[in-house]
């Protein structure tokens, strides 16, 4: 439905599409007017369109297909495009998600037109200002009229910064997304037919400092080949290349304890998360997704710190560092553990999107 005074929902990267999907569905279900905008770079435009289709979301009403090599140019391009689309569609409010350059540019263009910005996943802080995302998040929070904080911790960060907008703790829409998408994954993924093990740990490494570091990879190879539970490892292409150079790839691929997989699509990955016994990862998002009631898996975090303290406090996640010995003993400890994981996720009850829409309706803007 396209009418003046609708809510504009903007997505860009894949995680943004995933986390905004429950909101789009809620607007659709309630027959509330909304305008769906995809702001992506030209090179991943078709892939994003395909992904949006796979999630059974409506086709975006507007799509930005821009080319930009640098961060500044990227922000500048989206600024201009977002301004024109907001001017044209005249939404009552614009919802943005997360912490990318696109999130910031859309929020800035919107706020300057005196249109209300709602920030989904507001208040996250790593306190590491070398990360561009940290700046983006902070700036978007200070631009927003409505701040949808996933947790009390996030809310406390916002209160400490005396943001100008209204804060609501809604839970994280990522939990809603996992619940909704596990259903779709069941229909679409056949990945389990290819897995050699009945019980296994699912391992991933995404962060640049891990996939590129020979010492880290060596520790992972050591731990995976000796793990008391077999490992399923969708391997990052850069790690693969690095391991080949280090002549460690053979050891890993020949090990009967490890099954290497190419990088996986969203539904295949969700299916593996649902069927594994334990997750080993350096990803922040996976730490959240693992706490969803439909997944509910222990996570060993192969990093020195985490910006997801809630998962640790709730007993889902444990930060184990990057040494093989520490990782191995953590795997053993986790497998022996008698205590059950909590039934509730610290990131919400899967109704975050509904709470956000309820709030927008109660404010009279959706």
């Amino acid at each position: 439905m396209k009418t003046i005074g609708a809510t504009m929902i903007i997505v860009g990267t894949r995680p943004e599409i995933i986390k905004m999907a429950p909101l789009v569905r809620s607007f659709k279900k309630r027959k509330l007017p909304f305008i769906f905008v995809h702001c992506g770079q030209h090179y991943d435009y078709n892939m994003s369109q395909q992904f949006i289709e796979e999630l059974k979301l409506p086709k975006p009403d507007f799509g930005f297909k821009f080319r930009a090599q640098s961060q500044g140019l990227q922000t500048a391009r989206i600024l201009t495009l977002a301004e024109s689309v907001v001017m044209k569609a005249k939404p009552k409010s614009v919802l943005v998600e997360g912490d990318t350059n696109g999130t910031l540019a859309c929020a800035l263009a919107t706020a300057k037109l005196n249109v209300r910005v709602g920030h989904v996943e507001a208040g996250l802080r790593s306190f590491d200002l070398r990360m561009p995302e940290e700046h983006n998040r902070r700036l978007v929070d200070h631009l927003s009229t409505y701040l949808f904080a996933p947790t009390e911790v996030a809310k406390a960060n916002l209160v400490k910064e005396n943001v100008w907008g209204t804060i609501r703790v809604t839970g994280n829409t990522v939990i809603d997304a996992v619940i909704q998408h596990v259903q779709l994954a069941r229909e679409r993924s056949t990945i389990m037919n290819t897995i050699r093990f009945k019980h296994f740990a699912l391992a991933t490494a995404h962060r640049a400092e891990n996939v590129d570091d020979p010492a880290v990879l060596e520790n992972l190879v050591e731990a995976f080949t000796h793990s008391p539970i077999p490992i399923v490892y969708p391997i990052h292409p850069r790690s693969l290349k690095r391991l080949r150079q280090q002549k460690k790839l053979r050891k890993l691929s020949k090990s009967g304890n490890v099954q290497l997989l190419p990088p996986l699509g969203y539904f295949d990955f969700l299916t593996l998360m649902k069927n594994c016994d334990l997750i080993i990862t350096d990803s922040g998002g996976i730490q959240e997704e693992a706490t969803a009631p439909v997944i509910r898996k222990p996570v060993l975090v192969t990093r020195l710190s985490t910006e997801r303290p809630e998962a640790v406090a709730a007993g889902f996640a444990e930060v184990v560092g990057l040494k093989s010995k520490a990782l191995l003993s953590a795997i053993e400890r986790t497998l022996d553990r008698k205590r059950k994981l909590p039934t509730d996720s610290p990131y919400g009850d899967g109704k975050a999107a509904e709470k956000i829409v309820d709030f927008l309706v109660s404010e009279g803007i959706a």
Binding site: S70, Q71, G72, L73, T75, A76, R77, L79, T80, A82, E83, M87, N101, A105, L108, A109, A111, K112, L113, N114, L129, R130, P132, H135, R138, L139, H142, L143, T145, K160, E161, N162, W164
Partner: protein, 365 residues
């Protein structure tokens, strides 16, 4: 140290001038002055460069006016090129314009530290684009020069670490002290046939006042009916709206309203100093009026310079005609008001803000 200073709008040139002159005294500073070209035409700001004896900018990006996002975006594109080429060690951005924000955003994305001059000013009115610019620029900055202790307090309330803050004073006040003597030699009063204390000075340029013809008409009607000689230097943006709405002709029917072209810095100082009162919606002029001991009526609902209202030197009237005439009448019947304003303690520092800004910037490395 390669210090890049990004300016664009005219008030930024004024507040940057003392900083530029201070930086020039330090041989260890390689100053890279960038003009974004935000202000309509370079000529409009060039007079300021001449009056303040400023060096030619290293580059004039010539971005020009446009919508906010377009202007900010285009500035970012050009600034990114020039920062990548000139590799500054620190980018300094004064004030709260789109140039300020564009400079801060590009620097932060290139991992160049940002210093914000005039940090922590807050009107708490997010409908003002400047409020967004200020807030975001502060949150991009690792070195924040607060003009007053109240501004520092605002920053602390937003979670900034005290070690990133410096209460420096306001370089705009430095500029005023440095130029008030030269300004007194300007014969603008004679030129316009004015007598000291027997006229008001008016400026209007903010979108919420000039874009809507009803608001603009209401304000001007109230000012016409003050029956006080009023000098009105007309901003190009305001002139457009006056012409479009036919209000220009109405003003011209009233000989006590003197419409003039935008003035230079010295002329404006002299005009404000000798006026009975200043009526304005500008941020900088509210402060300048305070420093010149001239009572100010601010044609806005809110101000980021709350310090000026605390001493009753400045009253906020918005666009309300009754409030405008009441405030003006009060000033008219208080002949000793300027003597009173003379005694107010200035919260904007001691006129040495620029020295502090430069020495702290050098220390920050």
């Amino acid at each position: 140290m390669r210090l890049m200073l990004v300016v664009g709008a005219r008030p930024q040139i004024i507040k940057s001038a003392p900083i530029i002159h201070e930086a020039q005294k330090h041989t260890e500073i390689d100053l890279q002055l960038i003009h974004t070209g935000q202000h309509y035409d370079f000529e409009m700001s060039k007079i300021f460069f001449d009056e303040m004896t400023l060096p030619e900018p290293l580059a004039n990006l010539g971005v020009g006016s446009g919508t906010h996002a377009w202007q900010t975006g285009n500035m970012m594109i050009e600034l990114e090129k020039i920062m990548t080429k000139c590799r500054p060690d620190l980018v300094m951005v004064p004030g709260d314009t789109n140039s300020t924000l564009a400079g801060a955003l590009v620097a932060v994305k290139l991992h160049v530290p940002v210093a914000h001059v005039e940090a922590g000013a807050r009107s708490y009115d997010m409908r003002m684009p400047e409020e967004i610019n200020r807030r975001l620029t502060d949150h991009c900055s690792s070195l924040l020069f607060a003009p007053t202790s109240n501004c520092a307090k605002n920053l602390i309330s937003e979670g900034f670490a005290r070690k990133a803050l410096r209460v420096s004073g306001d370089p705009m006040y430095d500029a005023l002290l440095q130029h008030v003597a030269a300004a007194s030699k300007i014969d603008i009063l004679k030129k316009l046939g004015l007598k000291s204390e027997e006229y008001a000075a008016l400026t209007l340029h903010r979108p919420e006042n000039v874009d809507d013809s009803r608001t603009l008409g209401r304000i001007l009607k109230a000012i016409i009916s003050l029956k006080l000689t009023t000098v009105f230097p007309v901003h190009p943006r305001t002139r457009q709206h006056l012409e479009r709405t036919g209000l220009l002709a109405r003003l011209q029917e009233n000989p006590h309203i003197k419409l003039v072209d935008p003035l230079g810095y010295h002329e404006m100082l002299q005009l404000a100093k000798h006026s009975r009162m200043v009526l304005t919606d500008s941020g900088g002029l509210q402060k300048e009026a305070l420093w010149l001991h001239t009572p100010c009526i601010t044609l806005r609902e809110r101000t980021e310079w709350i310090e000026t209202t605390e001493s009753h030197a400045n009253v906020l009237v918005g666009s309300n005609p009754e409030k405008i005439s009441k405030a003006a009448a009060k000033i008219m019947r208080t002949p000793e008001i300027k003597t009173k304003l003379n005694k107010i303690k200035n919260p904007f520092g001691d006129g040495h803000a620029s020295q502090r800004i430069i020495s702290e910037t050098l220390k920050s490395r």
